[in-house]
Amino acid sequence: MANNDNKLKAYVRYDGQKKIVPGSLILRQDKPTTGKFVEIMPVDLCCGTTNVCDSCVTLQGVGEYDEELGTYYYGFTLETRSSGANLTGTIHWTTSFSESFSLDADGNDYDFQYDFGDAIPHTVLLCVNNPSQIQDFELGFGPGETVSLNNAIALNGLDEWDSDDMNIYSLDLTGLSSMDELYHCCSVLTHINITGCTNLDDVDLIDNALTEASVDHVLISLDNYGLSNGILDLTGGTNAIPSVAGDAAILSLQGKGWMVFYNS
């Protein structure tokens, strides 16, 4: 959420069900006094050292209330590969609390969970030493919600990205060249960037709010990557109808054996 004027901060509005109100993102110096607005991705919340930031994906997470424990948890899941080196790294839950991990390459899911103590967005840094040992990155299985993320390329090497249902407006997956499966359904997703995701052949973006430019970008990018027999679903929600250029990419993809579903 960088901007040219560091005095400005980004805010989104939450409704009564603790969901972000679509289109409510604003940049202001001060929090609006009307409505429940919370700040997202403050520019000064990074880890303080450029080196760490460059090698980590930055997640903006909101905790979910656990009635049994009486507090707000946030989490996500990593599935390791079933052979090879342990998956190692460090997670910075806050600027003062971090934990290193070493997970067996046993093909299992590992849940990462933290007690934020409240329901405002917090910045989490996930720093993985060998992301090629990630089979699947699941933002949806853990408690709470991920509302934005930066520097996804720090996870280049993973196979599968799953952020279904997360309230993310803009998803920049530039450079995740090993990823072959991308799932982000049923959300407010408006913009997506898959530049350099040259291995994608299974993409599910149904029930989002993608613009025509984003729909075209997905279609044209996948066509340009030249893979065959893939599957792409852009139906539902308010995903835009492809433009003429998008239509051309659809025909080309279908000619290469792709199954393409889209709004019309």
């Binding site: 299992n108 849940d111 149904i206």
Partner: protein
């Protein structure tokens, strides 16, 4: 003292391995239209199968 700190740490954060049983349940719930379509179903059949898997 260290024990108390460790306990506090456990309470506020955890990295836990998901049990095979839970993982199987998750995978069943996480089944996608594309998985069914790849198995040879039509889109309508896949939608019905997906709904069935989610309601398990």
């Amino acid at each position: 003292m260290d024990g108390i700190l460790q306990l506090l740490k456990f309470i506020i954060m955890s990295i836990t391995k998901v049990t095979p049983e839970e993982q199987a349940i998750r995978e069943a719930k996480d089944k996608r239209l594309s998985d069914f379509i790849k198995e040879g179903m039509t889109r309508e059949e896949a939608k019905a199968a997906l709904e069935a898997s989610k309601s398990k």
